[in-house]
């Protein structure tokens, strides 16, 4: 399986993400996060925002990438539909999001994500695939 699934938590929501490489992990995690925030229907790719961030290691980089996307939503009100990576290294990612501004008439918000946490955060190789887990405070 490639993609994301929601993890059960008493007070929070988590994601388990699987992909053929780390790039896919970053992309599926972003898709999963926006699926928690809002219904995926009716979002169009009218705008593009570039994102660049750095971190101490690849796991923290994933949190920073998601936090940047979350910031785009919280401040610029951009709901993401497509995500792209231009360059991914151990400590740095360059990429972005295509989506559009939240429109009450057409989009449905589902959850408020307060933050992307570092709790039980992991990215590891399992057989041929990569797997990651990340937990959000909602």
């Amino acid at each position: 399986m490639r993609g994301y699934e929601l993890l059960e938590h008493t007070a929070d929501i988590g994601l388990r993400v699987r992909g053929k490489d780390i790039e896919e992990i970053f992309i599926y995690a972003a898709e999963g996060m926006f699926a928690i925030i809002a219904g995926t229907e009716g979002i169009e790719t009218r705008e593009e925002i570039k994102i660049e961030c750095e971190a101490e290691d690849i796991e923290e980089l994933l949190v920073n990438w998601l936090s940047e996307l979350l910031y785009c939503f919280n401040v610029k009100r951009i709901l993401g539909k497509e995500f792209f990576i231009e360059k991914l290294e151990e400590n740095r990612v360059k990429g972005g999001v295509k989506g559009e501004e939240f429109d009450e008439e057409r989009h449905l918000l589902l959850n408020e994500i307060k933050g992307v946490t570092y709790h039980n955060l992991r990215i590891e190789k399992k057989g041929e695939m990569w797997e990651a887990e990340v937990i959000f405070d909602v």
Binding site: L6, L7, E8, H9, T10, A11, D12, I13, G14, E56, E60, N64, S67, Y71, N74, V75, R77, F102, L108, L109, L110, N111, E112, K114, G115, V116, T117, Y118, H119, N120, L121, I135, D137, V138
Partner: protein, 484 residues
Amino acid sequence: MSESWTGPLEKVNDFCYEIPRTYKSGMRVPGRIYANQKMLEDIRRDRAPEQVANTAFLPGIVKYSLAMPDIHWGYGFCIGGVVATDPDKEGVIAPGGVGYDINCGVRLLRTRISYEEIKNRIEALINLLFQEIPAGLGSKGGIRLAGKEKERVLIEGAGWAVRQGYGVERDLQFTEEKGALKGADPGKVSSRAYERGKAQVGTLGSGNHFCEIQVIEEIYEPEISKVFGLFKGQITVMIHSGSRGFGYQICDDYLKKMLVHFDKSKLPDRQLVCAPLNSKEGRDYFSAMSCAANYAWANRQVLMHLVRKGFAKFFGQKWEDLGMELVYDVAHNIAKIEEHKVDGKRKRLCVHRKGATRAFPPFHPDIPHEYKQVGQPVIIPGDMGRHSFLLVGTEKAMEEAFGSTCHGAGRLMSRTAAIKSVNKSVLARELKSKGIVIRTAGKETLAEEAPQAYKDVEDVVDVVQGAGISKKVCRMKPLGVIKG
């Protein structure tokens, strides 16, 4: 994560169980969980006790890593956790020990109105309040903060709101810390936090945040109730909200700043990242956290004003004439510098309360003069289908728990599990038959916040009363609930 916890819990007494220091090497103190035998089963169902053991690793922690009976799994710290550290012994401050929603808290208003007077008009009143109070995901308030104004909110907290006309000076007397922590420095706040918070003063938020019309249905301590101006059959209003996006961003900013120095060999979880109180990062976080705490007090003050305005409109009377006075406002996600006794000596400690409430005893200098004889009011919201409680703090809370007690019911079921298992129309009918009117902004909020998703708050409150760290004053039943 969903597997149960099988570690050691040694009975201290009927209401307290200990995780010995020997459980994990690296624990600096034992863990202690306030609970009864019956609750332990639920507590062991998730990994929260492991988190109590993990927070015992924090540098400078004194006495115990504590958890209240509403304990449940959180990220890093458990919800219901109380940790005190000694700044003189390299004690730390941990943003995760406060949480993302800095100064999430509750306030309780009384009225002169009796249940009999409005029992047939609850729905109309709730509909009106639902119009007045911005609630739900992405909702914006009527206040925009710009220039110097935004700094004043962060420094003056609820006092800023009062001086803008959202309430009266005496409201501040009945707010923890008089509605503003000292030491707030807007210079330690990122522009991102400002951006996330600028349109959110006077908004309820989503999820478990609420505004509730209640009736007092049981009085346990008549004399204390009298001091608080409360009587059986009286209408009260409870407001639960926090620092909104502003606080979330501050938590996020400082977790990232502190992570640079994180040492995997010393702490079992990255989310426990921390900095000594006597370091630049530690001091900066404390100043920024104080800004968020003050933002939250301003927010609850404005929300209370909207409630008073709504009632005034509904009844065609001034809110003062309706007797809508603030009983008290408590924070339940916060870190504070307080004086406590350690080994017989008075020490200034940093007390983290994450899903725990301050519960100061009678004659403590930090409680309102009017309440000196009886102790600090502790407001414990329950779920929307059962009840909420008002307690008071005790001397024993001071001795045992750094002047702390529980904060609410505590979740039992995840949000997704609740959405899957709760039939919304059945629940709506059930609540209606109990005489409870609900208005929710979010589509799934009703199911997520269903009573069965929570522990019974009465079990929680009975444990803190049994343990002697609080005393029950009265019980309120919900009549009308607005959820975000």
